[in-house]
């Protein structure tokens, strides 16, 4: 009985899905929260006929979905993790598409004087000296990995920091909500921050250090994993992502008058 119901459902669904060529792309929350996907997806459907279905997850989960062969390609931003992914044979290659940058968000009163810091590492050092609340993503995402590398650059071990260091284990938006509630400092990508609605008393306190550069890369999943992976479509999407149309759309995408992403595919 149940099997029959499920079989009928599965049949109905597969028939319905055959209408457009669906393509599953795992992307990071920061990319989706920026709103850029709303601009790119219709253009992709128009030019390539691909109905890109976004799975919005953290970089860690995106890589895991690629590893299991459940998505056709991934678009993430954590270089070391991406290289390990390729090393293990889960992807065919890596193509840099665009970048944005990370910024440090904090209370408007800036109790740790972060805005006067010379470098990102010095900014974190100032927060640790002042012992003011700092929210960490704590979810193994690209942003979290960047934050950990900044603590390492400042010569501090996040695990040994005091109670003011609060890993929340959540996505960018949820973490920003938490930071807004606690009036805490937080590392965010610029796109998520500019699109964030519930800013409360928070403001951008530090940006501009070259180490805060955030490269997004596109990695097709290796087609050997299973027969359902659409590698040909993955290459078609890659060709579109590095095209002039994509370049124009990415470079011209603005929120509140600010450019979010810079196209740099080669």
């Amino acid at each position: 009985m149940i099997r029959v119901v499920l079989a009928v459902l599965a049949l109905g669904l597969s028939g319905w899905m055959a209408l457009a060529e669906d393509f599953k792309l795992a992307v990071t929350t920061s990319f989706h929260n920026s709103g850029l996907s709303d601009v790119l997806l219709p253009a992709i459907a128009e030019d390539t006929g691909l109905n890109v279905q976004l799975l919005v997850v953290g970089t860690g989960q995106a890589l895991k979905l690629g590893e299991a062969g459940d998505v056709d390609a991934i678009l993430v931003h954590s270089r070391a993790a991406e290289e390990a992914f390729l090393e293990a044979g889960h992807g065919t290659h890596r193509r840099g598409i665009m970048y944005n940058d990370f910024v440090i968000i904090g209370p408007a009163s800036d109790p740790a004087d972060v805005s006067k810091a010379e470098t990102a590492a010095a900014a974190l050092m100032a927060i640790s000296t002042a012992q003011v609340p700092f929210v960490s993503r704590g979810d193994d995402s690209g942003t979290h990995k960047k934050e950990l590398s900044l603590w390492a650059a400042a010569g501090l071990d996040p695990a040994a920091l005091g109670g003011w260091y609060r890993p929340v284990g959540a996505g960018m938006g949820a973490s920003l909500n938490t930071a807004a509630g606690m009036n805490a400092y937080i590392l965010s990508d610029r796109a998520s921050w500019l699109n964030f609605g519930n800013t409360a008393d928070l403001t951008l306190v530090y940006a501009g250090d070259p180490v805060l550069f955030n490269q997004y890369a596109y990695l097709p999943v290796h087609p050997d994993k299973n027969a359902a992976i659409k590698h040909e479509a993955a290459l078609r999407l890659e060709a579109w992502l590095v095209s002039d149309r994509a370049k124009a759309l990415i470079n011209e995408y603005k929120v509140g008058g600010e450019t979010l992403f810079v196209f740099n595919a080669k």
């Binding site: 009985m1 149940i2 119901v5 499920l6 459902l9 599965a10 669904l13 597969s14 899905m17 669906d22 599953k24 929350t29 929260n33 279905q53 976004l54 799975l55 919005v56 590893e67 299991a68 062969g69 459940d70 996505g171 960018m172 938006g173 949820a174 920003l176 909500n177 807004a180 699109n195 964030f196 609605g197 519930n198 800013t199 994993k225 299973n226 359902a228 992976i229």
Partner: protein, 234 residues
Amino acid sequence: MNDIFEGLVAAALLVVTLDADLVDITLRSLQVTMTALVVASAIAIPLGTWLAIRRFRYRRVVIAVMNALMGLPPVVVGLIVYILLSRAGPFGVLGLLFTPTAMIIAQVIIITPLIASITHQAMRDLWAEYHDLLISLNTNRRQRIAALVWDGRRTLLTASLAGFGRAIGEVGAIMIVGGNIENATRVLTTAIALETGKGDFALALGLGFVLIALALVVNLSIHWLSRTEREGRW
């Protein structure tokens, strides 16, 4: 407080303008949950009734396990269903991951123990009352189950509605197995989680009020259709 007011305004706007996305995700929420409810009820109601009238050695253990499974954490169910349906998992060839079917499977697993437990509880009391009568009429087990289910239908409705309530408001499992894909697997609860993540509390609350209203409408219409709580019939 201001956010709640804005949420009410957003909900009213969405409903009044019949926002296309809202209609789409609301219908999908209903489709997924109603299908899961029908499948789960088809398993749980006979199972719960059978457990009430049948005596066997490990009955207590089975009932205790079923009661414990009422508290199954949806996130864990989601993760297990994900691993099973993943292309790298045992049922990967079916290609069900990130489809409404996967969400239905997860919800069936979550609500079946709940419906079965409430059914069992109600049927046990009813069986105590009907026991002598049904035995003396020399009924077989199938007839006994049928008689109990029919006479206990109002309680069973409550059991099913409890299942509906748990399924329609569930987010942890369907987020993992459905993936919250726009126009494919996005439902009300995952959309609320997404808008909260974006910090758009007004829209998130608006969707939340739509969800609450939907649960109310479904409950009221089922009660109205089945004519419960009317004078002389309750």
